[in-house]
């Protein structure tokens, strides 16, 4: 008797980890991976570091050439799944008929949100979400005279950083009042703004692009809400990402902003799992947690989903949030709960005397719950350890660098 194959939709880190976890359970059933991308698995966070010249282009490939054949994984690139029939255990491959599955994993990830002005066929509108974006940005940067980047998150500042380092005059437009509103407080964001301005990047807040004009199929001019006209060759668009939940929705699974799953990564439909950026794990009180959209989170979810698909029993446990980036010559690391404006917390900010950044420790009733590092990120992982344990700062050993930091302002 032949067993129906496992089908994985998507080919990101969650999908690859899931396939690995299935094999790690000793299950040799065929795995078919469908992806609408043109290539094998690559690491999305690598793209930025490739653009910075930190790592080699080929290093974006997350697995060796032999990964798919050795693991008996059938990779179908540039292929879309158009529909899922959960009752018949079938998927409909766009243009290729139907395929049965024994278990299905939705690891579809996200797509960049497209504002109306970006929704036109102009050469010069870029994001930093796929490997092809790297190709097109590199192509554009060589001849660009000026760039506009819209967005308020880490991807947008990555785009700014790439343009700036290439020597292209850049204007950074954000809709809100400051950069990275969800993680930085006002002081830190203003510090970044100042720093960007010092590096020649114009920062416009409370503004957005209303229309984008092109000439000869290329971006030529952007008009902002405040009425300013900006001549530009590159229009970077990084205004957030949306989980791809259409497949799950069409099949009848429960979805909120993403596909809702339990801690075993099962959706509400039998034999259908979801993992990665498109999945929202249900908390103990039943409400789905907002998707975290981090690389290691997607990887963790993928391994759990894969293990459970192959008949194992793995439970997903949320880890302490940790986000790393670097921009305008500063390292950034956010750990734990650092959302500004939380209730019942105490915030201590330690500023570098030479203006090289700051460290913000967030404590709730003496227990460290978050830490935001700008500039000197050496203690970030140590802070993660302390947050994980839920230790009070005053209970730490006297020589613990975090305690010293909180008490005397230096580790």
């Amino acid at each position: 008797m032949t067993v129906d194959p496992y089908i994985i939709v998507g080919n990101g880190v969650a999908a690859v980890r899931a396939a690995e976890a299935i094999r790690a359970q000793g299950d040799d059933t065929r795995i078919i991976v469908f992806t609408d991308q043109e290539c094998a698995f690559y690491s999305r966070p690598c793209l930025y570091y490739i653009m910075l010249g930190r790592i080699e282009w080929e290093d974006a490939w997350g697995r060796p050439n032999s990964f798919y054949p050795l693991n008996n994984i059938d990779l179908r690139c540039s292929t879309r799944i158009s529909r899922i029939d959960p009752h018949a255990h079938m998927v409909e491959v766009a243009g290729h008929g139907r395929l049965p599955y024994s278990r299905l994993l939705l690891a579809t990830g996200t797509h960049g949100r497209t504002p109306p002005w970006a929704d036109q066929p102009l050469h010069g509108i870029v994001g930093l979400n796929t490997l092809l974006d790297v190709v097109s940005i590199t192509d554009l940067l060589d001849r660009a005279r000026s760039a506009v980047v819209v967005g308020g998150g880490l991807t947008s500042i990555e785009l700014v950083e790439v343009c700036r380092r290439w020597g292209v005059p850049t204007i950074f437009i954000m809709r809100g009042s400051r950069f990275l509103e969800s993680q930085l407080n006002d002081e830190e964001a203003q510090f970044i703004h100042q720093r960007l301005r010092g590096l020649g990047v114009e920062v416009l807040t409370h503004d957005e692009i209303t229309s984008l004009e092109g000439r000869d199929g290329r971006v030529s001019r952007a008009i902002t809400k405040s009425g300013r006209e900006i001549a530009c060759d590159i229009a970077g668009c990084a205004v957030g990402v949306v989980p791809d939940k259409e497949l799950a929705e069409g099949a009848g699974a429960e979805t909120k902003s993403g596909t809702v799953v339990d801690d075993h990564m099962r959706t509400t439909l039998p034999d259908i799992y979801a993992a990665g950026d498109c999945a929202q794990v249900r908390r103990t009180d039943g409400t789905p947690a907002p998707p975290e959209m981090l690389w290691y989170v997607a990887g963790d979810m993928g391994s759990v989903a894969g293990a459970n698909m192959a008949g194992g029993d793995a439970t997903y446990r949320r880890r302490i949030f940790l986000n790393v980036s670097e921009f305008c010559g500063l390292d950034f690391c956010g750990v734990g709960a650092i959302v500004p404006g939380q209730e019942n917390v105490q915030e201590t900010t330690i500023r570098d005397s030479r203006g090289g950044g700051s460290i913000r420790l967030v404590t709730g009733e003496g227990v460290l719950i978050g830490a935001c590092f700008l500039g000197d990120v050496r203690l970030a992982d140590i802070a993660r350890g302390v947050i994980e344990r839920g230790a009070r700062l005053s209970d730490l050993p006297v020589s613990h660098p975090l305690r010293l930091l909180a008490e005397r302002g230096s580790p």
């Binding site: 880190v13 043109e38 290539c39 690491s43 966070p45 690598c46 570091y49 910075l52 010249g53 930190r54 790592i55 080699e56 080929e58 290093d59 974006a60 490939w61 997350g62 050439n65 690139c77 490997l131 092809l132 190709v135 097109s136 192509d139 380092r165 690389w295 290691y296 990887g299 880890r319 302490i320 940790l322 790393v324 390292d331 000197d376 990120v377 050496r378 203690l379 992982d381 140590i382 993660r384 350890g385 302390v386 994980e388 344990r389 230790a391 050993p397 020589s399 613990h400 660098p401 580790p411």
Partner: protein, 357 residues
């Protein structure tokens, strides 16, 4: 544009830069000099006293000069604290033991015989405990046994194989002239299993040492020619530009096998942060020992059970600072307990790659 991603491009054949050409020339000159002297030994013809003296001195001075010169190149290229200290140690040990105490200046400095043996460690330097070199020198023999079989193994237990990257004569050249080629080392599980050849060489070394004690010098001479000359000097050094800097160390060195055995069971580790790793594999690319660092980093498990020589390259090149010599307190509950008396703050983050833009 899409085609660019459909097929992986074949890795472009990289040309040598000026420093790499210079290192290649030095390497070839060294091997040529080794060959001249060794063949004279084996085939029994006498070099003229002048040639003998001249070639002997040239080897010491070229070796030392290239360690110093390329050491400075390494310091300038990497711009990293750990690399700076390590390379300074490399230069210092080469100067002290390769020039002053045991090298060409030793006779004129009237260094006592004993001091010449300070850096020698069996089984890499067989002469420490074989009677082949020192038939009646008991104190030197006792010292050799202590340093080789007790001191360095104990150190390897605590600080890993730093002997190889901070101190060793072969390592000194590998970490300076060879550093320029470090990305060329063979990688992958098949290549890593070849590491066990080192244990075979260790067995041979032990065997010929015992035989030499029993006054069978002939196998010892063959070992000396085959391993110490052919594999260590010719194969080990001349393959730098093609197979990276540590071919000898990884596949053949008996001392590496011995220290590695202790280091694997010891406390040395490189700690990894699962949260930070983005699986780029730059650590693997720069690892001269061909260790799969990425696999450990993406699982968040510390790099323990390996023959890491603690060169620090993976830590320096990781764009996300996912690796560290220092344990993150979260890495184990052991650190979480209050019995840790002193916490160490890691080095200031310095992202340094030789091709920094």
């Amino acid at each position: 544009m899409q085609q660019a991603c459909l097929a992986r491009p074949r890795r472009a054949r990289r040309r040598f830069d000026a420093a790499q050409w210079a290192a290649a020339v030095v390497v070839i000159a060294l091997v040529a000099l080794f060959a001249v002297r060794r063949f004279a030994d084996v085939f029994g013809y006498q070099l003229s006293p002048r040639t003998d003296r001249w070639s002997g001195l040239a080897i010491w001075w070229i070796y030392w000069g290239s360690v110093v010169l390329f050491g400075l190149v390494v310091i300038a290229r990497w711009r990293n604290t750990y690399f700076r200290w390590r390379t300074l140690s490399v230069i210092a040990s080469q100067t002290l033991f390769g020039i002053l105490l045991a090298g060409p200046l030793a006779p004129s400095l009237r260094v006592p015989d004993f001091a010449r043996h300070i850096h020698l460690t069996w089984p890499l330097h067989m002469s420490v405990i074989t009677p082949y070199a020192q038939r009646h020198d008991l104190p030197a023999f006792v010292y050799g046994v202590i340093i080789s079989l007790i001191a360095w193994p104990i150190l390897a237990h605590f600080i890993g194989m730093r002997y190889c990257s901070w101190f060793c004569f072969c390592g000194n050249l590998a970490e300076t002239a060879g550093d320029l080629y470090r990305v060329r080392g063979p990688k992958g599980p098949a290549r890593q299993s070849l590491d066990n050849v080192g244990y075979v060489v260790f067995g041979l070394a032990a065997l010929v040492t015992v035989l030499a004690w029993l006054h069978f010098d002939r196998p010892f001479q063959w070992y000396d020619f085959l391993v110490a000359f052919f594999v260590a000097d010719v194969v080990g050094i001349i393959t730098y530009p093609f197979l990276g800097s540590r071919v000898w160390c990884r596949f053949f060195c008996p001392l590496r096998a011995m220290l590695g055995w202790h280091s694997r069971r010891g406390r040395f580790a490189i700690y990894t942060s699962h949260h930070r790793c983005i699986e780029c594999g730059t650590c693997n690319r720069y690892c001269e020992m061909g260790i799969d660092v990425r696999m450990r980093a993406r699982e968040g498990i510390p790099l323990r059970d390996t023959e890491c020589v603690a060169c620090g390259a993976c830590i320096a090149v990781c764009p996300r600072y996912a690796l560290s010599f220092f344990p993150y307190p979260s890495a184990g509950e052991a650190m979480a307990a209050a019995n840790v008396r002193r916490f160490r703050v890691p080095f200031k983050r310095q992202l340094a790659t030789p091709r920094e833009r």
